[in-house]
Structures are given as structure tokens and as C-alpha cells.
């Protein structure tokens, strides 16, 4: 209880500090504008935008860097639904469920109301999820403090298994991608004897494969190559004008908003499922329990609200395993985890002890970012169609040059740029072959700690291996893993 009260105190004091810092507000605003553009352009995703900017975060203080990254994410989530409404193409994969009612609303001539509902629902969902995160995360941290090396290793394995099983259509391919990611993380000097593994005499590989080049290559360059190799023209049919923000929808659809918030948080907590699934579940639940269920699919504001709230609350849920166990729950949180490593912040149950204000800083950044994005999205809603007409043939080559410059900025070596390029090619081959990319990214991020904790646990219990396996916390994780896999597959099938 004392920890909860302390976190709330930190939260409000952090809000005041962040508001008074021009660099943080500037970073957040820049992030919101980038996120708005990324979210509104079909084919570009929040993860791509975040990973592109990751290389530049080195030069920024940690709170400004996180303000930028969270700004991009919230900006993209706020606006991804706008294209779903105006052109029936989701701006981000997370906004796919918004097309179900958003586009019919636009066809009825209610595009401005629908866009207003997207902006309003996104902000409300994010703010609610921040409050729940502030209560839930310290509780999870207290439980996680009982974890030893064996339990942390099991949690890492759980992450790879669940992400591998749920992020694609084929679990075997997902697990292969995860194992390959873990292998990539073993390249370089290992962390007990400093023995050089799989470097084959290449001096630059001694330090291992960097997170930044790998992430920019897999998420950024891959996306650029895959979008540019195709030519898909689209027509703009939306009407011009500012979005009509209606505050009364919060009161009118309060139960739907609350239900979608909880769904978004829970789905976010399951590693690998993420924001592309939660809106569908929330939409389905809203449809089942609504008095106007026959209106769903024909242009119902409640359907738009349900999908958008869940879409925007998933980040908070995904942050719990990311910050407490070091296992990201979704693509954007994988980038946030990489940023944590960049700034030398160690995720884990001790995070709230070693850096007591960190959770409050992140929660305050999401809270403020949702307000900034609400304002930005409202003001720019009139120009959504103008932005939509920006040719991808111009934007994406510029993004490719930024990938190169961003990677250079991380370590100032051309070798890293080549690593980024190779990962870009690997990412394309994986996508063509049907291998999902998130498990590989997760493997690269957690490979080092998985190896270290496994070997430490085995050495500590080398005389009593049975005792190690039967530790109660470890057994509880195994049961949780089985439950997550079972329910996750059910959720995945529901999405299909």
C-alpha cells in the first residue's frame, strides 16, 4: 500500500516536472507529429517510426528520448483509425477493426463524427490505462521480487514460446525465429568467461550484434523494402473539415470504454499478441453486449469507440512484462526495451527500487502524450487527407536514408550500418517465407540474460537439479505459460 501511495505521489510530481520542461514537451510534440504522419500513411507503422528514431535517442536525455518514442506511438495509435474511416485502409495494423464501423459512418456522411470519436476514445483509453498501470505494476514487481535466476530464465523462455506461438500463423516458424534471435544474441564475448563466440575472427563482432542496428534493420528497412517493391495506388474519398469531438461519448459509452480498457490491458500483458488483436476482441465483446447490436457493422460509433480504446490501452498492459521481467509484450514495447538498454536502465523486479521514479515518469509521459496527441490530432484532422496524399515513393527513400544515419548515430561505425542492412535483407526473406519478425527481435533482446540466468541457476543447484525444477515460483510460471498458450491460441483463432 505504501509503495502504491509513493508511486502516485511520484506520478503527480513527475507530471509537474515534465510540463515545466520545454525539451520534454518539444520531444513529445515532435514524436506526436511523426506518429501522426506514420499513423495516417498506410504501410507505415508505429514500430517502424519508433525504431527509426531509436538511433538518435543516444544523444538525448533519457526522459526526452522516451517522450519522443512514446509520442510517436501514441500519435500513430490516435490517428491510425482516421484512414480506416476515410479510405477504408487501416493506417496501422492496430486500426483494422475500426474499418468495420468507421468506413460505413464515412459513407453516411459522418466521417467527422467518426474521426472525433477515434480521437476522443484514444485519449480516454490511454488515460484510464495509465491509472490502472500505476496500481498493477508495483503489485507485479512485489511478486517478481521473489524470483531467482531459474524463474527469470523460465520467464524468458515463456516470452519466446508465447511470442513465437502467437505472433504468426505458424507456431513452428515463430519458435524458429525466436531461437534464431537467441542465437544472434550469443554472438560476441560471452558474459561469464569473456569467451569469443561465433565471431570467426571478425574483430567488430566481439562486442556482439547491437540492438539498434538489428531493430532498425528488421522493423525499419524491411518495411521500407517490402512496401516499395509493390505499387498499390489508393483513392482518397474523405471529406475535408475538422473532426467533431463529442465529449458526451465518454458518459454514453462508459461501460464499453471500461471493458475495452481491461481487454486492451490483458491482451497487452500476454507477450506477442499486442494491439493488432485487442481491438477485435473488444469490438466483438461490445457487439455482444450492446443494445444496438444490429447497428454494428453498419456505422455505429460504439463499435469505433470499443476498437479504438482497446487499441490504445494495449501499450500500458504490454509495459508490465517489459519493465518487470524484461520481456516485451508487443513490437512497440520491444523498441522501448531496447531504449532502456541504451540508457543503461535494467528492467526487472528491482527497477522500482533502483530507479523509484521511473514507472511514474513513463506513466506521466503516456498521460501527457495522450493529451498532446489529442490536441495534435484534433488540430490536424482537417489536414488528414492532405497528408494521405503524400507519395510513399518520396517518404520511404528518405526513411531509408534515415535508417542509415540513425544506425551510424548509435555507435559511429560503418560495420553497424552493414549489420542493419543485413538484418533488413533477413527481415524481407523472413516475411516472404512466412517467419514472423517479433520473436527474432525478442530473442536478440533477451538472449544475453537468458543465457546468463540459466547457467547461474544450474551452477547454484548443480548438486540438486530436481530441487531447482520443483521450485514453487518456477512451477507457477510453467502453469501460467501453459494457460497463456492455451488462451492465446484461442484469441489468435478468434482474430483469424
Amino acid at each position: 500500500m505504501e509503495e502504491l501511495i509513493t508511486q502516485w505521489y511520484y506520478f503527480f510530481s513527475e507530471i509537474v516536472r515534465l510540463i515545466l520542461s520545454p525539451s520534454i514537451i518539444g520531444g513529445m510534440l515532435a514524436g506526436a507529429l511523426i506518429g501522426y504522419t506514420v499513423g495516417i500513411l498506410p504501410g507505415l507503422t508505429a514500430v517502424m517510426g519508433m525504431s527509426l528514431l531509436l538511433g538518435f535517442c543516444f544523444k538525448l536525455p533519457y526522459d526526452v528520448g522516451f517522450a519522443l518514442l512514446i509520442g510517436i506511438y501514441t500519435g500513430a495509435m490516435h490517428t491510425g483509425g482516421i484512414t480506416s474511416i476515410l479510405i477504408n485502409i487501416p493506417g496501422t495494423p492496430a486500426a483494422a477493426a475500426t474499418t468495420l464501423d468507421g468506413f460505413p459512418l464515412a459513407k453516411k456522411g459522418k466521417a467527422r463524427e467518426a474521426v472525433g470519436a477515434v480521437i476522443m476514445a484514444s485519449a480516454v483509453g490511454e488515460i484510464l490505462s495509465v491509472f490502472i498501470l500505476l496500481v498493477a505494476l508495483p503489485l507485479f514487481a512485489m511478486v517478481a521480487l521473489k524470483f531467482g535466476d531459474w524463474e527469470i530464465f523460465l520467464f524468458c523462455v515463456m516470452g519466446i514460446l508465447v511470442v513465437g506461438a502467437l505472433s504468426g500463423r505458424d507456431p513452428v516458424k515463430g519458435w524458429i525465429a525466436g531461437v534464431l534471435g537467441l542465437f544472434i544474441a550469443t554472438i560476441g564475448l560471452e558474459n561469464i568467461y569473456a569467451y569469443s563466440r561465433f565471431t570467426f575472427g571478425i574483430l567488430e563482432l566481439e562486442k556482439g550484434i547491437g540492438f539498434v542496428p538489428a531493430l532498425i534493420g528488421l522493423f525499419g528497412l524491411t518495411e521500407i523494402f517490402m512496401v516499395l517493391k509493390e505499387r498499390i495506388p489508393y483513392k482518397i474519398i474523405g471529406e475535408r473539415g475538422f473532426a467533431r469531438i463529442d465529449l458526451s461519448i465518454v458518459k454514453k459509452y462508459f461501460v464499453t470504454i471500461l471493458r475495452s480498457t481491461l481487454i486492451g490491458l490483458w491482451i497487452g500483458f500476454i507477450p506477442g499478441v499486442g494491439e493488432s488483436v485487442s481491438p477485435w476482441i473488444a469490438y466483438d465483446m461490445a457487439k455482444r453486449s450492446s443494445k444496438n447490436r444490429e447497428e454494428f457493422g453498419k456505422g455505429c460509433i460504439e463499435g469505433v469507440v470499443a476498437a479504438e480504446v482497446a487499441d490504445n490501452t494495449t501499450l500500458a498492459g504490454a509495459l508490465i512484462p517489459t519493465l518487470i521481467f524484461g520481456v516485451p509484450g508487443s513490437g512497440p514495447t520491444a523498441v522501448i526495451l531496447a531504449a532502456l538498454f541504451i540508457y543503461g536502465i535494467r528492467p526487472g523486479p528491482l527497477l522500482l527500487i533502483e530507479k523509484p521514479t521511473f514507472l511514474a515518469t513513463i506513466a506521466a509521459l503516456i498521460f501527457l502524450s495522450s493529451i498532446v496527441c489529442f490536441i495534435v490530432a484534433s488540430l490536424l484532422s482537417r489536414y488528414a487527407i492532405t497528408i494521405l496524399t503524400l507519395p510513399r515513393e518520396i517518404i520511404l527513400p528518405i526513411a531509408a536514408a534515415l535508417c542509415v544515419l540513425g544506425t551510424w548515430g548509435s555507435q559511429f561505425t560503418v560495420f553497424d550500418i552493414w549489420i542493419m542492412f543485413i538484418f533488413g535483407i533477413i527481415g524481407c526473406l523472413m516475411r516472404i517465407g512466412g517467419f514472423p519478425i517479433p520473436p527474432m527481435v525478442l530473442g536478440i533482446l533477451i538472449g544475453g540474460i537468458t543465457d546468463l540466468h540459466l547457467r547461474r541457476a544450474l551452477v547454484q543447484h548443480s548438486t540438486d537439479l530436481f530441487g531447482l525444477i520443483t521450485r514453487p515460483a518456477g512451477l507457477a510460471i510453467i502453469v501460467l505459460l501453459l494457460l497463456m498458450l492455451y488462451y492465446g491460441r484461442k484469441v489468435g483463432r478468434g482474430k483469424d
Partner: protein
């Protein structure tokens, strides 16, 4: 034939995992006994290579058993315009990276962008629009960003 092509990734992964297994087993074991196995640098890669081998065998058998194979169609892939576009994009980017520390960055970026804009050009884009876009983007990438983020460039 199609069935065999679909098994290529799994065959490659099997060979790769065997290679990793051999390399990992050859790694030193600093202490004798069970503890020596656990602390060996090769212990974790051995587990990974065995897992990868089992998974790729599973994938291989499944692809081979598929009665109605779908997916990779090498003939259509090799002939497709998409592959050509992808190859040119990748080659242009590789050349850009190769020249990154050998040539003036601003001029190199301008040439790279102009080349890609012209290569990807749609009818709605005029040459003037392309040149102006490339100039603005080059200015931002080569001067503004390195200045704001205090980022030294290798050459110019």
C-alpha cells in the same frame, strides 16, 4: 517440385543448426564435471542448436507431407517485377552504405534520393517536384539532423 522448393528454408536451417552444434561443442569447458558443462560458453548455444534442429526437422517433415503445397513458386518469383524492384532497392542501398565513409555524405545522399525517386516515380510526380524534395531531404538529413544530434559524419 513445388513441394521440394518449400522445404529449402528447413533444409538450410538444419545444416545451419548442425554447424552451430559442432562449433558449440568445440568450445572450452573450464571446469571438469557437471559444473564445467554448465559454465561452458558453448552450453547455451548447444541447447539452441538442438532446439533449432528439432524445429527445422519438424518444419521439413510438415512441408514434405503437405498434399496441396502453397507458398513459394520460384518461377513466378524470379520473373516478377516485384523482385526486380526489390533487388534494385537493395543494391542502391548497399552502394549508398559502401560509399558512406568514402564520399561526401550530402552529395551521396542527394544522388541516392534522386535515383530512388526517379526509379520509383509515379506519373503524378514531376521532375521539379522530385528535385525539390531531394534537395530539402538532403539538407535535413546531412545538415540539420547531424547538427541537432551533434552527430559527426565520416566524410563531409
Amino acid at each position: 517440385m513445388l513441394r521440394l522448393i518449400n522445404t529449402f528454408p528447413s533444409i538450410f536451417l538444419m545444416i545451419f543448426s548442425i554447424f552451430i552444434l559442432k562449433e558449440s561443442i568445440d568450445m572450452p569447458k573450464p571446469i571438469i564435471g557437471l559444473v564445467g558443462v554448465f559454465v561452458s560458453p558453448g552450453f547455451f548455444p548447444v541447447l539452441l542448436s538442438i532446439s533449432l534442429l528439432l524445429l527445422s526437422v519438424r518444419l521439413f517433415l510438415r512441408e514434405l507431407k503437405l498434399s496441396n503445397p502453397k507458398g513459394l513458386n520460384m518461377k513466378s518469383i524470379l520473373k516478377s517485377i516485384e523482385l526486380k524492384r526489390w533487388m534494385i532497392l537493395a543494391l542502391a542501398t548497399a552502394l549508398y552504405i559502401y560509399l558512406f565513409d568514402k564520399f561526401y555524405f550530402s552529395i551521396l545522399t542527394f544522388i541516392y534520393l534522386i535515383f530512388l525517386f526517379l526509379f520509383l516515380k509515379t506519373e503524378s510526380l514531376s521532375i521539379l517536384k522530385i528535385i525539390i524534395s531531394a534537395l530539402i531531404a538532403t539538407f535535413v538529413i546531412s545538415y540539420i539532423i547531424p547538427l541537432v544530434f551533434e552527430m559527426p559524419l565520416p566524410f563531409g
